[in-house]
């Protein structure tokens, strides 16, 4: 056990985490060079494209240290986004140390700080690494200063590296061995293994990723997933060497996988504990919680005939994403669909992209909503994540919405713009500090609804990419909330309804009306688009009638060309949704979803 090191790499998005992981894997010669492709651990296209890790991967690396000692290094990769903080925390709980990566050209950012706090909470050894020192824009001195002042770490301990060129990788490997302590625990103690991830395999079911904290886990053991109180027989245990490699057992301190006939990842819980079924009083490892979705949106197939295919795709998607929750939903405008809950906006984005790309589903997503809470005259509290279930306004005594505490880090010169953005988004209770001269950490309490609505993109824009952001949910606060209906030629489009703060309702409604009027093509008649609260119209826009659509010639005998154009248009029309007599293209729903705020 003294030759095992369990560690993670944590970093702000794009600070080079995956590239460093690649270098470590290459160094261990786990794969032939010709098999190697960049970002080995990011197995999904989207991960590689966006440079983020969505599903974490784990790999066991053999390493011979400078002193000749043979070591086993378990790299536990973590998802790199605020939406997945809980998953990150469970991965960190499986480690004894982290490499804290800081981009030498970007410096410390909001998630670097958040990651440091997480690592400190878990009492981990921290090895700061200044990455990307080969970049012309690298500013090592500035980065050192930030490590000292913003992170409170000793900058002399920071390793200078370039994951891209491989510079510093040897020192990093030595530091892992020397500065991160070996795991503790006893192979003879009652079994306690921490589940930090699970992935779906079509042949084996859920592949449970775990860290054995105490005891020994063997093939053939009867095990219990403690929080769910379900019992399985272990078919296989092993370690990750890019591919799964079976072993006879996993003992305290080791990291690996368990296959035990668990059907899907939804039959497991991240953070749960594996104990022996024979253990009369299995103990749950600390830190376990059920993750709950915070952002909700409905999805509909563009072609209603694709509903069965969408149902099937969701089921398959869910096999590998336990944090997605969904249930059936239906809309007068869009037909049958699903109401889905996500851990955050990125989770939603990734879901949408994967569904479209990997599962070939053409879908329409409604504007994301948070979980609102209403106190009714009857004294009941109801939680509503779907505008459709907005209670009868007469029955509402008080309404509440979730708030977050946002921590925003950015260069001082953007203070005015960032303050303005946060205030425009109904931010309150702000305070700020200068962790280093010239840089501001601004803390703001904001309604979550304002943040899921394009806040991060806006922040990036106004800070020219230098602003970074992290958040945590804090509480519910009382605010007046209205339901806005969007009407197209007098008919409400249920899929476009939304709940909004009363002071923001008119503005939101106007934006939606304007976007729709840009996106809905002209028809042979005039189209009125209105936003309404109850029966009261609060915003409107108009699409004038198309009064000319004809080309002079019908090209002699070349009727084919004209028919083909018509067939193409007809196909386009099939992809539209009809409300009354108005054909609304998918792009209109998408545009409304992406509406940017001023």
């Amino acid at each position: 056990m003294k030759n095992i090191r369990n560690f993670s790499i944590t970093a702000h998005i794009d600070h080079g985490k995956s590239t460093l992981a690649d270098r470590l894997i290459q160094h261990a010669h786990l794969v032939e060079d010709r098999e190697f492709h960049d970002q080995m651990l990011d197995t999904m296209d989207i991960e590689r494209e966006r440079g983020i890790t969505i599903k974490s991967q784990t790999v066991t690396l053999p390493y011979t240290a400078a002193d000749g000692g043979e070591y086993i290094l378990n790299l536990i990769d973590t998802p790199g986004h605020v939406d997945f903080t809980y998953e990150v925390s469970r991965a960190l709980a499986s480690c004894e140390g982290v490499l804290l990566l800081v981009d030498a050209s970007q410096g410390v950012e909001a998630q670097t700080v958040a990651n440091l706090y997480l690592a400190m909470e878990h009492d981990l050894a921290i090895v700061p690494v200044i990455n990307k020192i080969d970049l012309p824009s690298a500013d090592i001195e500035m980065t050192r200063e930030q490590i000292l002042l913003e992170l409170g770490l000793d900058p002399d301990e920071a390793i200078l590296a370039s994951a891209r060129t491989g510079q510093g990788v040897d020192q990093i490997l030595e530091a892992i061995v020397r500065r991160i302590p070996p795991p503790r625990g006893s192979a003879e103690a009652p079994l306690q293994a921490l589940i930090f991830d699970a992935q779906y395999d079509p042949f084996r079911g859920a592949i449970i990723h775990c860290r054995v904290m105490e005891g020994t886990l063997r093939t053939g053991d009867e095990i219990r997933l403690v929080s769910l109180d379900t019992v399985y027989k272990v078919e296989e245990v092993g370690i990750f060497r890019i591919r799964r490699e079976p072993r006879a057992e996993l003992t305290a301190g080791e990291v690996g996988y368990v296959v035990a006939g668990v059907k899907t990842v939804s039959d497991t819980r991240i953070g749960d504990t594996i104990a022996h079924a024979s253990d009369p009083q299995p103990e749950l490892l600390p830190g376990f919680k059920e993750v709950k979705p915070v952002v909700f949106s409905s999805i509909y197939p563009i072609d209603t005939n694709d509903y069965p295919a969408l149902t099937d795709s969701l089921e398959r998607y869910k096999l590998n994403d336990a944090s997605l929750v969904y249930q059936k939903d239906s809309s007068a405008a869009l037909g049958h669909g699903f109401r889905c809950g996500f851990l955050g906006l990125l989770h939603l984005d990734v879901f949408q992209e994967r569904l479209e790309r990997e599962f070939n589903q053409a879908i329409i997503m409604t504007a994301p909503s948070v979980l609102y809470r209403f106190e009714l005259g009857s004294g009941d509290l109801v939680d509503v994540d779907n505008p459709e279930y907005y209670p009868d306004p007469g029955a509402i005594v008080r309404s509440f919405e979730p708030y977050i505490r946002a921590s925003i880090l950015f260069p001082e010169r953007y203070m005015g713009a960032v303050m303005q953005l946060c205030l425009a988004r109904r931010g309150e209770n702000s305070h700020f500090s200068y962790p280093v001269p010239g840089r501001i950490e601004l803390i703001f309490e904001l309604p979550l609804a304002e943040v899921i609505h394009d806040f991060y993109d806006k922040l990036k824009t106004i800070t020219q990419g230098y602003g970074s952001f992290d958040y945590e949910l804090i509480d519910y606060r009382e605010n007046p909330l209205d339901k806005i209906d969007i009407l197209v030629n007098g008919e409400p489009v249920d899929a476009l309804a939304m709940i909004a703060h009363r002071d923001r309702a008119r503005q939101r409604a106007k934006q939606v009306c304007d976007r729709l009027s840009e996106e809905i093509p002209r028809h042979l008649f005039k189209i009125a688009i209105q936003g309404a609260i109850g029966g009261k119209i609060i915003a409107r826009s108009t699409i004038s009638a198309m009064r000319k659509d004809v080309l002079a010639k019908c090209y002699g005998g070349d009727i084919t060309r004209k028919r083909k154009l018509l067939e193409k248009q007809a196909k386009g029309k099939k992809r539209m949704k009809t409300v009354g007599r108005v054909s609304i293209p998918q792009s209109a729903f998408v545009a409304v979803l992406k509406t940017t705020e001023e």
Partner: protein, 391 residues
């Protein structure tokens, strides 16, 4: 959807009801023209030989007479390109050749397309003598500044002379083509052209809205931020102006772009296309249709000639239309004409009745005599109308 409405199937006509011959040569290329033509050095002799070969080749597939013993084709249309060019003297052989290979009904409509500056008394005699009885003159405008902007070789005076000469030469039907919708063209200026045209007492007037075709000099101008064509609103106004002025002059607006002095002067040949009857096209880029299949020749003149010189069919393409496509074409073509489409054709579409009602309420379609036909406002959105029926 029932795709085989028993009613109003075009009366079963054997192939082909009409014959089109494409003469691909032009003296110069007009900057707005997207039709296929070639300019400069060419050898009309080789081309006409090849054309004759194609005609003989195709005559094998075509029925020469219906069961009543009458020849089938009722029209011959020689278009281009510029059939009237001096080098194209052999167009005069085409009516005889057609009659010989395919037969032509008594009183068949035999049309030649000409450019005003090619029209001479001598040539008119030749064309008349060859059997052409309908002439379509590419007047385009009767405003010299507009003619220059369109890159035409002729001026208004020579256009007027050409029309008068054609009339004098004894053509049974004299038609003129006009183009409207140049950038900056006002309704009053267009009206003057229309009135000058009426003064020539043509039997047929085509008013083509200028559209900017891909790959033309006009398209390049537009890309450079200098749109040669008027905006949509003006195009609309000009279209309606033509409808008013020509109706006042006794013309019926029988197709989006076409006006006739009474039903007898409608283009029977174009009518074949619009009523989805079978036709045979000869020459480069020409299309043919037998009621189920459509095929077309390569537009490349050299390729066309080379193939025929070896005794092969010219290269090209072909498509077999599905029932659904046939129906769509009939709807699409019919809704461009004042005869419109029979109601049961529309009712084949699930939303047919509903859509018709909406269109009728909106004043875009007139319903009567078991047919639905576009109004002038309906013509203006004719490309959109068929789309409404498809769900």
């Amino acid at each position: 959807m029932n795709l085989s409405p028993e009613t109003d199937r075009p009366e079963e006509t054997a192939f082909p009801a009409g014959i089109y011959v494409h003469i691909p040569f032009c003296a110069t290329k007009c900057p707005y023209c997207g039709f296929f033509s070639v300019t400069g050095e060419n050898d009309p002799g080789r081309f006409f030989d090849a054309l004759g070969r194609e005609a003989r080749l195709r005559a094998g597939d075509a029925g020469r007479s219906d069961p009543g013993g009458r020849p089938i084709p009722d029209t011959l249309y020689v278009g281009g390109g510029t059939p009237s060019l001096a080098g194209n003297g052999r167009v005069a052989e085409l009516p005889d050749l057609t009659r010989q290979l395919f037969g032509l009904r008594d009183g068949a409509e035999i049309t030649i397309e000409v450019n005003p500056d090619d029209v001479t008394g001598e040539r008119l005699e030749v064309w008349r003598g060859a059997g052409f009885d309908r002439i379509s003159i590419g007047v385009q405008s009767l405003d010299d500044a507009e003619l220059r902007a369109l890159g035409r070789r002729h001026d208004a005076r020579s256009a007027v002379r050409a029309v008068e000469a054609a009339r004098d030469a004894g053509f049974a039907s004299v038609g003129i083509d006009l183009i409207f919708g140049l950038a900056g063209q006002t309704a009053s200026r267009w009206r003057r052209t229309l009135e000058s045209a009426l003064a020539l007492s043509p039997d047929h007037v085509s008013c083509y809205q200028l559209s900017v075709e891909q790959g033309t000099p006009f398209a390049r101008r537009e890309a450079l931020g200098d749109p040669p064509a008027a905006d949509e609103k003006s195009q609309r106004d000009l279209f309606l102006e033509a409808d008013r002025v020509l109706a006042g002059g006794g013309f019926e607006h029988y197709e989006v772009s076409n006006y006739a002095r009474g039903r007898a002067h409608r283009s029977r040949h174009n009518g074949i296309y619009w009523s989805h009857l079978p036709y045979l096209g000869l020459g480069p880029s020409a299309h043919s249709f037998d009621g189920r299949q459509r095929w077309w020749n390569t537009p490349a003149v050299e390729e066309y000639i080379d193939a025929l010189e070896t005794g092969a069919e010219p290269p090209g393409g072909t498509e077999v239309l599905t029932d659904e496509q046939l129906l769509l074409e009939r709807l699409m073509l019919g809704l461009r004409t004042s005869d419109g489409v029979p109601l049961d054709l529309v009712m084949v579409y699930p939303r047919g009745e509903e859509v018709l009602e909406e269109l009728s309420e909106a004043g875009l379609v007139r319903i009567g005599d078991g047919r639905a036909a576009p109004t002038a406002e309906g013509f203006l959105v004719a490309d959109r109308l068929p789309l409404l029926f498809i769900d």
